[in-house]
Amino acid sequence: MLTVEDVFKIAELAKIEINREEAEKFRKEFESIIDYFNVLDEVGEDVEPTFHVLPLKNIFREDVPKEGLSREEALMNAKHVEDGYFKGPKIVE
């Protein structure tokens, strides 16, 4: 059973503000989806997990400096910019 409080907790972890009405709607939907996910209970622990479908190995390249984004390009999509830096929200409350 998933409660409305559980949904608020998940939203907090996901950093998405939701209201009571949304929480109730998500609760109902999550319950049926998670119930569907529980079909995986039938799958045994004896199968190795696949993290990656291709047997890729680490690929190294020459350590040659290349042109990156300019400061102007890096900042062009930010709303809050100060002295050529991103300006973020306060971290310490």
């Binding site: 950093k15 998500f26 569907y36 929200p89």
Partner: protein
């Protein structure tokens, strides 16, 4: 629909500028809502370049539409989301660089489900895409705009991306050809990520030959994507004349409309003298659940980047970190995106990792093994692409019901193999797609088989 060879034929006697202008007239009058952003000035200047003989390459003078989750330098790239409504990438995706190098004319950015999360393009912040064959129905998703612009003669080639069926579903619903390549064949550099371990960029077009041409252009080595396999692709249509061993996947089905047509297709395939058998994939019982756990888990991590600081939707005033971050995401993301981020957050949270995520990865092994064993006996596998004809807009209101429509397409992404959707005529006036699957990097087999059937079907359906 317009094929590359038809377009080239017209280019012999007409100006590229006039033909591209004609396309834009059509797009601007269209009711399909296939495009989010048009690049009219850029496209027309490229067309003039072609007319002056200055545009060279494999795609010179060919109009291409690009899905809006693929970064285009200087051209707004929204991912179908309010979050990126005004985002202008400072760089091109690898595939866009390749299009430009080969002289393609980029028409614009196509509409899609928000962050590619959907099966109908109804979750787009920019409105639903309509089906070219029935405006009251969906074009499929998430690459709905790319499917609809081809079906509606508003482009000649298109790029889509496919995480769990997002190229094949709209290809099926809009009566066009689309292939999800083998994982690692096409660089994902510049593709705005949803679920990295599952998704690939792929070509969509009006015939098999054109899909193969566009795949040749976009496939290949790119060191900026660490999962790129470094493998080139060259289409060899001479292999289409061989005898194929064809496996029918028992667990991939459809409703009456779809199954009726599929059975007719099987009869045609048998009529070609091919060896046809049935294969069973017991792991598919778990594939859909595993897919949604992995996809939402990766999404919850990928979409953490949208913090309203470096790019994307932002509030006028900064606040404390948690409040600002949570508010930006509440206002910038649509409902389906929030749903998937939260589902993924739940499945990855302490205490549930082993029960959901790790189990889903075990299923991934089972699905891969089922395909490997089936592809020992058969060259290609076939099934209906979608279990249903295109839905009415608004028909699938419940999220889980919508997720279940991906049942035939998601196992392919879990295994990383290539799969193509080929139009096999119409039922009740609506297109039906056949899904053709092959082994890792066996795109040539899949395309050759599709090419052979395409010839056959042009006479049958």
């Amino acid at each position: 629909m317009i094929t590359v060879s038809e377009w080239r034929e017209r280019l012999e006697s007409e100006k590229c500028y006039d033909l591209v202008s004609e396309l834009f007239d059509r797009i601007e009058r269209s009711k399909l809502n296939a495009y989010i952003t048009l690049c009219k000035d850029f496209a027309l200047s490229q067309a003039e370049k072609y007319d002056r003989g200055e545009l060279k390459g494999k795609l010179s003078g060919i109009p291409v539409a690009v899905k809006d989750c693929i970064s285009t330098k200087g051209i707004r790239t929204t991912c179908g989301s309010k979050m990126l409504e005004n985002y202008i990438p400072p760089f091109d995706a690898h595939v866009v660089e390749r299009l430009k190098q080969e002289g393609a004319i980029i028409l614009g950015k196509t509409n899609m489900d928000e962050f590619a999360m959907g099966t109908t393009t109804e979750t787009s912040y920019f409105g639903v895409v309509r089906n070219p064959y029935d405006l009251d129905r969906v074009a499929g998703g998430s690459s709905g705009g790319s499917g609809a612009c081809l079906g509606g003669k508003e482009a000649v080639l298109a790029l889509g991306s496919d995480t769990g069926g997002s190229i094949r579903c709209p290809s099926s619903f809009c009566g066009v050809v689309g292939i999800k390549p083998t994982y690692g064949l096409v660089s994902r550099y510049g593709l705005i990520p949803y679920a990295n371990s599952l998704e690939q960029i792929g070509p969509m077009a009006c015939c098999v030959e054109d899909v193969a041409l566009l795949l040749e252009v976009i496939a290949g080595k790119d060191e900026r994507d660490s999962t790129n396999a470094g493998v080139e692709f060259k289409f060899d249509p001479s292999k289409a004349d061989r005898k194929f061993r064809v496996g029918i996947v028992k667990e991939m089905g459809g409703n009456e409309d779809v199954n009726g047509r599929f059975e007719e297709v099987v009869e045609v395939v048998k009529g070609l003298g091919f060896e046809v058998g049935e294969v069973s994939m017991p792991s598919f019982k778990y594939a859909l659940a595993a897919y949604y756990i992995i996809a939402t888990g990766e999404a919850s991590s990928n979409l953490a980047r949208y913090d309203g600081v470096r790019y994307g939707f932002a509030l006028d005033k900064l606040d404390t970190w948690t409040k600002y971050f949570s508010k930006v995401r509440a206002l910038g993301f649509g409902e389906e995106v929030k749903r998937r981020i939260m589902l993924g957050t739940y499945a990855l949270s302490a205490g549930y990792y082993g029960k959901y995520y790790l189990k889903a990865l075990r299923v991934r092994t089972l699905v891969r093994r089922d395909f490997e064993s089936a592809l020992k006996d058969y060259d290609v596998l076939i099934a209906p692409t979608m279990p249903s004809l295109p839905f009415k807009i608004g028909e699938l209101a419940d999220p889980l019901t919508m997720y279940k429509m991906d049942v035939n397409t998601v196992p392919i992404n879990l295994a990383g193999i290539p799969a193509l959707s080929l139009p096999v005529g119409f039922v009740k006036g609506l297109p039906v797609g056949l899904q053709i699957m092959g082994g890792h990097f066996k795109e040539n087999d899949v395309l050759c088989f599709a090419l052979r059937l395409e010839k056959e079907f042009s006479e049958v359906f």
